[in-house]
Symmetry: C2
Subunit: 601 residues, 2 copies
């Protein structure tokens, strides 16, 4: 059976040494996040995830969820107990506002726990996972009454939340939704329609479920400008907070999916259900984006989370399984064969995984810090810069992170040879589970267009200039350190490819917007490669300084330096090829009409 | 429900126009393969696969195979009837020798039919699929008596064959097998041991199953030099050809796999089963490689076969599903949204799939022609050249073909957005089914080492020089054609990267063989990119000539030219990045010891 050990040493390295979270202790919420507190949280969360959640991962996959005739849903064996423990330990409250019962600690910590939970058991993670987005939307757009009524229980995970966007005929293009919201005399709305792909839409983990539902009021514009957001609880909530009537909504069926079987992905039927508008009429899209951005970062984490656990198990297998001999001569002559760990091609896949997961962890946690600084930064300038960085990074973390995370999961399965294809070993589940992250919360094509069509151009390109200035400055600094300079130069070259690609877009996209669409995926990957490169530059710089300072944990820091060099050798070169593809533009891509794609007999 | 239309127009283009099979009609077996005959075979086979096999693909996935308590296995509903039709139509006999009841036609045709069958239903294709390898081994190494006894029935598909190599503790490293073969007084052997991952190991499609089993005789060397090959029939065969006693072998269980559920992948237990040695004692590895090479080409086809059917269904979905608007303005203003086909990122994925599948089809069929010419070439020089080319191309077709084929299947699933993750649509099955092709018959890492560690160096690099000379000559020719010259120049650049990478290996691998292991995967992909580039050069050249000649089917040829240009823009640039990675060598890849890979808490 596959196992999982939370990478707490690496997490502490990133938080304490690379991000140096302690240096922000003048900011609200950060003062309590002392290194000691961080150690405690990281270690305890890691233990819970390894010992309680990970053993349920295959159970969830095998059993799936069961919908009963009355529309109720039973989660897999053990999920309810595990969720009780999760709730009681308050793992979902870490970075939620104290005002509503949260612990008010930095998002950096909340995000890390999300990683551990998601790595141990992605299907489980998605029960509390979407609640974060729902809470964020209510916090930003809800009335005081709504906040008071729902947030305490949601943050305490006594109730969970969902996001109801997609309908059978529309997902990306939410302007087309058909779910209706008809105003009632008491100020509420009667919600009617069908939503699909609703993660955690129905389950037995909590006594109530708070659905956030996109719908259209009568006469609303027939576009994304006509969408409103509603709170539609499974059980109506009385003014004293007790539960009232069962609302007219039901899980119609559970989707049969490729993976994440342990999560109940529901078709939700709303049949005149009572709902309350969140924020302004027809401004639902903005509220939805608040949910969505939180969810997108969460999905980005899922990308490397599945890669991480697949990697850990591939390492164990590579050290255990013996086939053939090292090309350089038998590594263990007394044994009948060497562990496959000695083979360069196996090592290639493991190093790729290591360079990616550690780099992505640093990127996601740096991103989470920007989320914190957007609200809590010491100066307006700090807040603005943080907002620019995270708005650019969100589609990169989600899109590049999950594309590459899936690739890594596939490679880790490959390390197992034929056994990787057999269910019992668990590797194929990681591949199936991680596949969804490239799709939901906006497909990676949508992420690429969000990055290139929206974020790059915003405010005259201010955000990307901030990003370039940040990377430029750190490269210049790193070039002064002899041991790091070679890597910094490689990163500079890759950054140059990104700058050139950006320029190419500026010069060509006006003339033909398809040039942007044709290159967006390539651009997102270039930026992912450069962003991870920046993380490796930082990690290498810190590691070198620690070694120079005579740190005790020498092997750990030397591994960071070696992995950075590997990243320079094996990841950065792709930036140039991607730029060449991008600069080929849309002409050959869009040259053929539909007939040319239809199979001629 | 997904559908499949055999790409018969493209197949006829490759066989009749690009390979110009008619020009080989002076060779034995080719004379009967007239364009008319080819048209008939291609169209009839295509019809059978589209109409009979494709509709059973989801059935097989859902039902899987059932093992009964007596060890017998029932295949999914419809498989037995479909197999009857397959057998009666003689689709498995096309390129088998007439001497044993085959039709003696070129492998090119046999391979194409293998593609159609495998595209329609990979799990089904693997019942007759492995028989080809078993037949090849008996043809090459069996005694006259063995040939007479088994080949007629096997070629007629009245009996099917299997390949029993892998054991629980060894797959790649077959020198470690433990299955024993003890000589009996009558010249037979008593075979005892356990084999795993045996495709079509037990089923209800034929009255007998002929297992080819690797085992060790008493006192045999404890390495791959101590392996012998045995024929071990499920039912012993009497001298008159009738079936005798049930042999002491049984399917112990059916593996639970990620995909190809419709094929019964068995654990086979041999308990003193009666077997007969094929060829010489301790020379089983050579016989095994004959089976294996045939099987590897078959697996290479599977790589693009699943991509092809996934592509066809993605095209249909992209034309049907409406979300958003073209960046260049509404394509269908009267509708609420445009088909997603208008979006450049969707088109990117479709064009990638088109360029890959059509290129791979050409490469596989060109490869099949080399298999024919190896035996039937007009001169010894022709035979030698063909042998060199196919020996190089086999790992490339298998390794690059299935790596990229899986990527394409994943992309085609991506076109469906969330619906791609739902089982009902069938796209996730293509991803699961195609995943195995990167693993079996030698993982793609093994293919890369076969290419770089064995094939490149053989006979002083004669084969790769032949390959370079072939591509060089065709580029030189193509540069004379104005319309093709730009593509030829791009291919020349990519070929230059391959030549440089080859040179780098020559200069560095002796000093440290791990340099070869570290770059083998990259090299295999460079060669895949160049090989497909050569195919696109040929297809573009033929298409241009047809257009210049005023051909009627203008749109078809123009699409070929446009797709070649796309290939030049979007595939060829990767060769340079891969070369840079390769030239980074093994140092950073092998720098870290096992402790650095173990998760530190």
């Amino acid at each position: 059976m596959p196992t999982y050990t939370a990478p707490t040493r690496d997490a502490r390295f990133i938080i304490n040494e690379v991000l140096d979270l302690a240096s922000y202790n003048n900011l609200p919420g950060f003062e309590s996040a002392t290194p000691d507190m961080i150690d405690t949280v990281v270690n305890e969360a890691g233990k819970f995830c390894s010992e309680v959640l990970a053993p349920l991962n295959q159970v969830g996959d095998k059993e799936g969820c069961t919908r009963h005739d009355d529309g109720s849903v039973t989660t897999p064996t053990g999920f309810k107990d595990a969720f009780e423990q999760y709730r009681e330990s308050g793992w979902g409250t870490i970075s939620q506002p104290e005002e509503f019962g949260g612990q008010g600690m930095p998002h950096v910590l909340g995000m890390l726990i999300e990683e551990f939970v998601g790595t141990a058991n992605q299907a489980f993670a998605m029960y509390p996972g979407l609640t974060g987005g729902a809470v964020a939307a209510i916090l930003a757009k809800g009335s005081d009454e709504q906040k008071e009524k729902y947030l305490h229980k949601m943050i305490a995970n006594e109730w969970l939340g969902t996001m109801n966007l997609t309908e059978p005929h529309c997902g990306t293009d939410l302007g087309m939704i058909r779910t209706k919201a008809v105003p009632q005399a008491d100020g509420s709305f009667a919600i009617t329609g069908t939503k699909i792909f609703i993660s955690a839409g129905e389950h037995d983990l909590t006594e109530n479920i708070i659905h956030l539902v996109l719908a259209k009021t009568p006469g609303a514009p027939d576009s994304s400008k006509g969408i409103s957001l509603f709170i539609v609880p499974k059980f109506l909530v009385n003014d004293d907070g007790s539960l009232g009537d069962r609302n007219s909504l039901q899980c119609g069926s559970i989707e049969e999916k490729m993976g994440i079987h342990g999560n109940s992905t529901c078709v939700m039927n709303y049949d005149g259900a009572t709902g309350w508008m969140v924020g302004e009429e027809n401004k639902g899209l903005a509220a939805m984006f608040i949910m969505m951005n939180a969810a997108r970062l969460g999905v980005g984490i899922q990308g490397y989370a599945q890669a991480e656990v697949a990697y850990q198990n591939a390492v164990a297998y590579a050290l255990d399984r013996r086939q053939g001999r090292a090309l350089t001569g038998p590594a263990e002559p007394e044994a009948q064969a060497d562990p496959i760990f000695v083979h360069a091609d196996v090592r290639r896949m493991l190093m790729d995984a290591k360079a990616y997961t550690e780099g992505m962890r640093a990127l996601a946690l740096w991103g989470a810090l920007q989320v914190d600084l957007t609200h809590k930064g010491a100066t307006d300038e700090d807040k603005k810069k943080a907002d620019q960085i995270i708005s650019l990074l969100t589609p990169v973390i989600k899109g590049y992170g999950t594309d590459k995370g899936f690739d890594v999961a596939v490679n880790m399965q490959q390390v197992f040879g034929g056994h990787g294809y057999i269910q019992e070993w668990g590797m194929e589940q990681y591949v199936r589970d991680s596949r969804i992250a490239m799709i939901y919360e906006g497909t990676n094509g949508v992420q690429a267009m969000d990055l290139c069509g929206r974020k790059l151009a915003q405010n005259g390109g201010a955000a990307i200039q901030t990003f370039f200035a940040t990377v430029d400055a750190e490269i210049a600094e790193a070039k002064k350190v002899e041991a790091i300079a070679p890597f910094a130069e490689k990163l500079e070259k890759a950054l140059g490819e990104q700058k050139a690609a950006t320029m190419w877009f500026m010069q060509n996209a006006m003339q033909n917007p398809d040039h942007l669409g044709a290159g967006a995926h390539h651009y997102m990957h270039i930026m992912g490669i450069v962003s991870l490169g920046l993380m490796w530059l930082r990690m290498a710089t810190v590691a070198q300084a620690k070694l120079d300072g005579g740190a005790e944990d020498k092997a750990f820091y030397e591994a960071k330096l070696a992995t950075a060099r590997y990243y320079g050798d094996r990841f950065l070169p792709d930036a140039g090829a991607l730029r060449r593809k991008l600069e080929a533009g849309a002409d050959t891509m869009m040259a053929l009409g539909e007939e040319a794609f239809q199979t001629a007999a």
